[in-house]
Structures are given as C-alpha cells and as structure tokens.
C-alpha cells in the first residue's frame, strides 16, 4: 500500500500502530464479508419473519364510586365480532384461484386424453399483468370477507355494514390484529354466534373493555364522559397499533383522567413474512388506573334528581347542589338536562341512542353543560343575605324601620326612587309598608336592600362579596368551573359606575353572574359561622385492587379558602330572618318546610335578558341550609324557565328543596329538632 510504504521504516512504533489498524480494518472487512455476502440469504429471509409489531394495551380505567362505594362508572367487557386475517389466508387463496380467469387452449387434446376422461379442450391460466393480479387478489379477499359478513348479518339478525376501504386499510397495515365487523354484541347475539359459528378460524369474538355508566343519566353532569382516544401523542412512534383507549372529556372523567387512566402496557406480536400473526408475548403489563371515590352520596343524588323530576317533569334546565356546610363535601350535584354518558361510548340500544342524539341536537337543552358549575346567571334575591351581612357589619340596626312607599302606577306594590334627583324608579314586588331586616328578607323587599345597600356603600358590598369569592372559580377540576362575573372595587370606583348599577347589585341583578356552586359555597359560609370552604367533590383516589397495600390519596375535607370575619351576631340576625322565610306566615319559602326540621332559606327570582334587553327567561332560586340550630346541610335549587313560563322561587324551587330535605331527614335523623316547630 502506498501510504504504508511512506511510513518510515525506522519508526517501528508507528509501523506497529499501522499494522494494528490494518488488522482492525481487515477484521471489519471479514465480518462484513461474512454477514453481507456469505450469510446474506439467511438475513434476507429473516427480514420480515423476525419482525415484531408492538400493540399498545391500555390500562384498565379506574372506577368512579360514590362515598359509600357504589359504582357510578366502571368497565364492562364488550364483545366484537372480528375477522382474523391469519385464519382466512387459505380462503383468500382458494377464492383467488377460483377467480383467476382461464382460457381454453386453442389446440384440442389428443384422443387418449379424452379416453381418460379429461375435458375436450385444455384449459390454461390466462396471462395477467401485475396490476391485474393485485386487483384480483383484492377482489378475492373482499369476496371472502363480504360473504362472511353477510352470513354473520343473517346469524345475528341485524344488518352489518362492510366498508371495502377500511377493510383494505386494515389488511394492509395491521394484518396481525382482529378486524371488527360487528361491535358491542349483546348476550343473545353472542350466544347465537357461538351456536352457529364457533370453530371457524377466520371469524371469532374478541373482547375489549368498554366504559359503562350503570346509572345512566344519573349524576351525568358531574361524572362527565369519555371518548375513544386515538390521538397517540408523543408515544405514537413506539407502537405499531393501538387498542382502543379512552380519555375523559369533561367532569370527573376529565379532571381525574391522569389517575383513572393508568399506564398502557404492550404486547409484542411476532409476524411472519406475510404479515400474519405468528406468536405473541406480553411485554410490559399495563398498570390499571385508580378508582376515584367521590363525596357524592348516591341516595341524596337520586333524591334530588327525583325531586326535580317530580316537580318539573322531563328535561327542565335546572341545577341542584347539596353540600355539607362544615366540610364543603358535595353530597349531590344535579345538572339538568343531562345526557346519558353511555351515549358517548355507544353502549345504548339503538332507540335510546336516537333519543340521546336528538337531545344533543336540541340547541335549547344544551345537555353537555353542567348547569351547577358552568352556567352563571344573575342570582336575584338570593344574593340579599350577602348585602345584608355587609350592611349589618356597617352598623345597620336590624330593627330600624324602612318605609316602602307605594308605586303610583301600581299601588299594591312598593317602589324606590334613586339617582341624584330621585327620579329613577325601581319597582318592588312587595306591598308598601314598614320593613325591618327580618321582614325585608322574608318578603324579599328590593327597596329595603337598595336603600340600605346604598347607605352601606357599594365598596363595602363588593368587599363582602370578595370574601365569598364571587367572580372566581370554585376550584373543581371538572373543566366546567365558571368564574361568573362580579365587579371589582376598581370598577365600582370608576366614573362610569352609577348609583343605578350599585342598586342593581344590592338586589342581585345587573353586572353580576354567579354559578349555583358559588351560591352553595356562600350559603355554607353563612351557615357555618363564616368559613368560606373549597368545595370538595373527590374524597380519595385509591388502587383498584383492595389488597394492593397501596396508600390511597386522600383529599382533606373542610379546606378553608377564606373567613368572612363578620360578627356572630350579624350571622344570627341573617339566620333568624332566613328561618322566618320558611316559617313566618308571610314568608316566601314556606313550601320547603319539613316537619321537625328548621330550615333557613331564601327565595329568589332573577330576570334574564338577552342582548337587546328583552326579558327572555326567569331564574328561580331557593338557597337554604338546615337545621337552624346547628346547620349541617345546604341545599341550593335553581330552575331556569324561558318566557312565557312564570312562577317564583318559592313556588318553583322550594317544593323541590322540601322533597330533598324530607329524604335528608330520613337518612340523617340527627338534624331533627327535639322541640319541633316553634313559630
């Protein structure tokens, strides 16, 4: 070698290095020669036969349970009828041979062939182009598959669709996994198939877990739903094929998706040189997801839903929240109308699927909205206790009399004039007369709260509302947690803020919107002595396997968000007035009363206007807690009624609350008072 010779002969070390290098190169050369020339045919045959495909197996999704361990969402086996390409390969071949055109050879056969019984003319395979052969093979595969699908359709007694292109795609990309032709077979269909077709290698059942909600539409709004997840994400490249997996879209299914979901595992499938499944081994076992245990009590949840249905029929737009005022635990959360979450996993009989589908398309219903947490409306009179607290703290004497003057246009009702020149009239719903704090709450006088609210000053009202955290999210991880609207101190001090705006706020209208969940938190705070809690929906997250020994993740209850910092006397005045609302003959919430239970309540009716300022609907409220002596439960009922339907908070919502309290009393008799109703 030329370079070699140039390395100085009198430099033995360098020469040795050169020889070592040459030896190394020779070893590599020899190795490559061996691998690429001598044994290449072996590797060429290995090329496809030794290929692995990885299939992603999702972890078993965790269940969602109520506080007593009753199942609200779980997994069930779902039977699919599938084609197994590996078992069909010989049928494909046979069909191809049958389809292959033959032609009659021109020359007739010699007579001795005829003697032996051969047909008169020789038949030869017609020459075909490569494209023709490919097309013919597809034709053969399609024919075989179509024949099977038709047979199955007769066996199962239901029409099955068969799409050539999806079949072709599956055949080309994933021969080694079953190709489903009918999904979600019921027990009857499974039995019928087993009777008629077991043993056919090309068609069989395959079982996949599917998400089911055994309670149907019960608690659907808070549970949320899942959809099939085929996004793949960044892990996609690692797998050749993904078995169906779910991801939560809203509700608990969304908020706790990470925990419910678990870790996927993988199956390694060895495929042969045609791409058919040869053997399989489980790689990493999937890790099942964890169960989410809610604070929801299914009994109370059902009671609330039944109460709503009993008074408002099917599909009213409404929200109900039952909450423990001391712990912030949400015991029931109803959002209506609700769609059965099984609809999204297609686990409903066809007629019910259609019904749900019609609901989804009805723009008036909006069943995907959780009205308890995601719909913010003006609260109306149920906001008055907040204004009342601000006024009392500012020094309002509850016994001080405010005279509501009569509305000249409508002498049965009161009114109040505000503005610089007292020329702006706001109508009241109550009759004119003398009102102290208690009577103003009981009858819900707007004039009294406007007068005293303005006297207190909008800043103090806003400061009080800020302690309740109106205008802020309640921290529920359901993806449907609206912040609502509430003016800030900065806004009310701007020049474009008028006395009229303040007056509106004082009776829960105008530039504000709250969610029922925010009202629930606020009434809990009023009930429990002034502690604003974070609402708690999930009690703990624990392993699906009770014997795993794995410690559950427990979320603490009664986590404090803020303190109202108001005098206990102010709260007592508000409690007394609210008790009067359900017990006083004049009170608007009398229909909530349950014998033996003292309920503090507040009714409300808010007018909902569209962008043009036209009245389009009413929101009826009943916000309450009980028992009066030592409050334990808060019950918030909101019903939205489009015009021209009418009513009032007391008439529409209080009876619903009544039914819920009746069930609460049955479940928890400790809240009953010994010295029954005092008047």
């Amino acid at each position: 070698m030329l370079i070699f010779d140039e390395i100085k002969k009198n430099d033995p070390e360098l020469r040795f290095v050169a020889i070592a290098l040459a030896t190394g190169f020779f070893i590599l050369l020899a190795g490559l020669w061996w691998v690429q020339i001598v044994t290449t045919s072996e590797y060429k045959s290995h090329l496809v036969t030794q290929s692995y495909r990885t299939i992603r197996i999702p972890g078993m999704r965790g269940k969602i349970l109520d506080c007593e361990g009753r199942v609200m969402a779980e997994n069930a086996p779902r039977y699919n009828l599938s084609l197994y390409f590996g078992g069909l390969s010989s049928e494909f071949e046979a069909e191809y041979d049958r389809l292959r055109p033959v032609r009659v050879a021109a020359k007739s056969r010699p007579f001795w062939d005829l003697w032996r019984g051969s047909p008169a003319a020789a038949r030869k395979l017609a020459p075909l182009t490569k494209t023709n052969i490919t097309n013919l093979k597809w034709q053969a595969r399609y024919d075989v598959a179509y024949r099977i699908v038709t047979q199955m359709s007769q066996t199962l007694g239901q029409p099955l669709s068969f799409d050539y292109w999806s079949f072709k795609r599956a055949y080309e990309s994933s021969l080694y996994v079953p190709y489903p032709i009918a999904q979600g077979l019921n027990a009857d269909e499974v039995a019928r198939f087993e009777e008629n077709y077991s043993g056919n290698p090309g068609v069989d059942l395959d079982v996949q877990p599917t998400r089911v909600y055994p309670l149907g539409a019960t608690a659907a709004g808070l549970l949320g739903y899942v959809v099939t997840d085929d996004s793949g994400g960044d892990e996609d490249a690692a797998y050749n094929y993904r078995l169906p997996d779910y991801k939560g879209v809203v509700g608990v299914e969304y908020g706790y998706d990470q925990d419910l979901h678990g870790q996927p595992g993988e199956e390694l499938v060895m495929v042969n040189n045609l791409g058919y499944r040869q053997a399989e081994t489980i790689g990493n076992e999937p890790d099942p997801g964890r169960n989410v245990v809610l604070t929801i009590d299914l009994d109370i949840q059902r009671a609330a839903e039944e109460a709503l249905a009993a008074h408002q029929g099917a599909n009213p737009r409404a929200a109900i929240i039952v909450m423990n005022v001391r712990s912030g635990d949400i015991l029931a959360m109803v959002s209506s109308p609700a769609i059965d979450p099984n609809y999204f996993t297609k686990n409903l009989p066809p007629d019910e699927m259609q019904k749900e589908s019609a609901m989804m398309e009805d723009t008036n219903l909006m069943p995907q909205i959780n009205f308890a947490t995601y719909a913010a409306y003006e609260p109306g009179s149920v906001f008055k206790p907040v204004v009342g607290l601000a006024a009392l703290e500012a020094g309002l004497n509850p016994n001080e009399i405010y005279h509501v003057e009569a509305d000249p246009e409508n002498p049965d009702h009161g009114c109040i004039y505000i503005g610089e020149h007292h020329n702006h009239k706001i109508k009241d719903t109550v009759p004119p007369g003398d009102y102290n704090f208690k009577r103003a709450i009981e009858l819900s006088s707007n004039s009294y709260f406007i007068y005293n609210g303005l006297r207190t000053g909008i800043q103090r009202v806003v400061e009080m509302a800020d302690k309740f955290h109106f205008g802020e999210k309640t921290g529920l991880k359901t993806r449907q947690d609206a912040a609502g609207i509430f003016p800030s101190l900065w806004e009310v001090e701007k020049s474009d803020w008028h006395e009229g705006d303040s007056a509106n706020i004082d009776f829960g209208q105008g530039r504000m919107a709250v969610t029922p969940m925010q009202m629930a938190v606020a009434y809990c705070a009023i009930a429990n002595g002034g502690t604003v809690l974070w609402p708690r929906l999930v009690d703990r997250i624990e392993s699906q396997d009770p014997n795993s020994g794995e410690a559950p993740t427990v979320f603490p209850s009664g986590v404090v968000r803020d303190y109202l910092g108001v005098h206990p006397r102010s709260l007592r005045i508000v409690h007394d007035a609210m008790l009067g609302e359900t017990t006083d003959p004049e009170g608007t919430g009398k229909s909530a009363v349950v014998p033996g239970l003292q309920i503090c309540g507040k009714t409300g009716t808010a007018q909902i206007q569209n962008e043009k300022g036209e009245l389009i609907a009413h929101n009826y409220w009943f916000c309450s807690f009980a028992p009066y002596e030592n409050p334990k439960y808060a019950v918030i009922v909101m019903v939205h009624k489009p015009m021209p339907l009418g009513g009032s908070g007391g008439a529409v919502c209080a009876p619903i609350a009544h039914d819920i309290y009746a069930d609460l009393v049955k479940k928890d008799s400790s809240i009953l008072t010994q010295n029954v109703v005092r008047n």
């Binding site: 140039e6 290098l21 070893i27 190795g31 490559l32 690429q36 990493n284």
Partner: protein, 404 residues
Amino acid sequence: MVDPSINEHEPRLDRLQLAALAGLMVIGTLFVASATLANPEIAASAWYRQMWVHQIIWYAIGIGAGAAMCFLEYHVLTRWATVIYAIAILTLVAVLIPGIGSVHLGARRWIDLPFFDLQPSEFAKLAFILAMANFLSRPADELRRPAIFWKAIGMMMLPFALILKEPDLGSALVLAPTGLAMMYVAGIPRRFLLQLLGTVGLLGILLVGDILFAPHALQILHGYQRDRLLVYFGSDYTRFAPSNASAADLAKMRQTQLADEYNVRQALISVGSGGLMGKGWRHGTQNTLGYLPRAGAHNDFIFSTIAEEEGFVGSVTVLALYAVVLFAGLRIAGQARDRLGKLVVVGVVTLIFSHVFINIGMNIRIMPVTGVPLPLLSYGGSSVLGSLIAAGLMQNVHIHRKGY
C-alpha cells in the same frame, strides 16, 4: 532523505485525506437523510427542520472549526493543553450535576444549550489527546520512569471515570486504546504497557465472569450496561433473577431481554440483508418500515442503514474512506516535525479508529452495543464538530511538518 526543493511544490495540506473526509461527509448527508426521511413526520416537516440539513450545517461549522485549528501552530495549541484539559474535566463534572446535565434515554451526557445539546465527552477526548501529547513529549529518558507512566495513566483515568459515570461506556472505552497507543509511540517502556495490558485484561475477564456467572448480590455493573453486555454474550437475563422472583417477574425479564436484543438483531438483519449491492438509497426496508429503531437509525446505527441500502459495496466504500483518512494520518505522523506532532496525530488516528471499529463492530455483532457514534457519518453536532476538529489537528501537524 527529504529534499526541501521538492517539498516546495508539494501542497501544504494533505489533499488525499481531505478528499476522503469530503467523501465521508457526502455519505453522511445522504444517509442521515435516508434514515430520517423514512419517518413520515420528519419527511413532512419544513426543509430547515430536516436533520440532513442540520447535518450539513454542522459540517460547515466543523470545517470552519477544523480550518481554525490549522491557523494556530500545534505547538501554540499544546502550550494551552493543560488549560484545555482542565476545562474539559470541568465540563465533564458539570454534565453530571442534575440541572446542568440533561438526561436522555437514562444517561446524563448532554448539556442543553439554546441551539444544540453539547456532549462534552466528544470534546474531552480531544482535550485528553492534546494534554497527553504535551505530557509525553518530554525527554526520552524521563519516559522510562514509572512515575511518569503512572501520571499518564492518571491523566487517562480521570476523564475515563467521569465519562463512565454518565454512564457512557463506549466513549470511556475509546480513551484506553488512544492513551495506550500514544504512550507506546512516545516510547514508554514496553514492559510497563504489557503489565498494564495484562492487568486490564485480567480485570476484564473478571468483569465478564462477574456479569455472566456471579450471583445477583455480587454484580458490579448495573442496569442497561450489564444488560447490553449480556445481549452481546447471548446470556439469559433470568439468570440474575432473585431466588424469590415470581413467574410474572421472570416473564418480564425475558421480555426486557427480547426488547433489548431487538435493536441488535434488527441492525444485524439490516446489514445482512443488504447483500452485495444493497437495496438502493432510501429503499432499505428495515429502515423505511421502521424496524430499525427510529432513535438510532440516523446516529449510532447509521452504518446499518448504509449497509442495508448500499450493500457490501457501500460498506467497503465507507471502510476504504476511513482507511484513507487514518493511514494518511499515520503518514502525517511519520513526517511530523517532532514527537509532539506525531503523538497528537497518533492519538487522533487511534481515537477515530476506535470509534469506527466499535461502531461498525456492533452492527455486525463483533462488539457489544455501546453508544459510540461513527465519526462524520452519525448525526449529531458534538460528534461532527469533534471529528472535524480532530481532522484539523492532523492537517495542522501536516502543514508544519519537517521542511516547513
């Protein structure tokens, strides 16, 4: 022997070596493209996100850095060798600190800089060569002293240990032949080196014996380093299962083994199925169908892509280009003005050769799988930059050879 009048007409640069380097860079660009374009996601992205474009940019930067190396005479360069070595050691320490060094695939080897991920070990190897050459270019009688020998060993063990800690077994191992060759060429007495080789060999046998036969508690290597050696020796992972392992645990171990063997087997199938002529550029089925691990097809396993698509002919071409670069390097070493120049070049040549041998060797299963890049062909900024700076060092010695 050397006639100055002839030398005046000789080119100052070693053009043969430069031509071979250029050839390697062309091949590198082509096959980084082939390996990465097989991934439809990468193929669909804009041209300036293509990895082969990045590779060309790194070549350009590397050529600039290599050319810069030629301007400073290597004596000037090696005067700073101790400083360079110290900086290299500092970066190697830095990379081990969580927060500075970033972890990819279980190894802490990179420092994430805004525009690229620096792999300090690539540059530490060169710093080591400069420092070692500087250290060994002392009077010949001093080299016979054991103290000098042990100091040299110490200089080698420091980066070796730090790189091994990352862990990057392959990059650490290439330091050994490099250091030994330099000591040998410098004139360290042969018996020292033989003793060292004997000891290392014995330790190596003990290590392999430990991996293959020792009970679980006495295992020295851990995790994937051991696993990779096991794959190489064809042993069964379940051998090391604790005595109370359940059937499921054993199945899992076998599974892991299967997955680990997968890379090696797929690379071997790629190379073997290439045959004499290969399947054609961008037609390698192992590559395009994604059987070759996507993460490795364009860097550590680039050779299997080349071998599959261009066959034995392609493999030999690559080997021949490396041979030209390295033997031209040795010729430069032979013509070097002094021992310092000779040692720098011998170090660089051995380093590149070790990379080539280990990398190609692992593709045909004569070496265990270690994350060693193939110089100039594998995708990666640090590696390309390091290789071209190394080439620049060789050219530097050539420019300032005897007679100039």
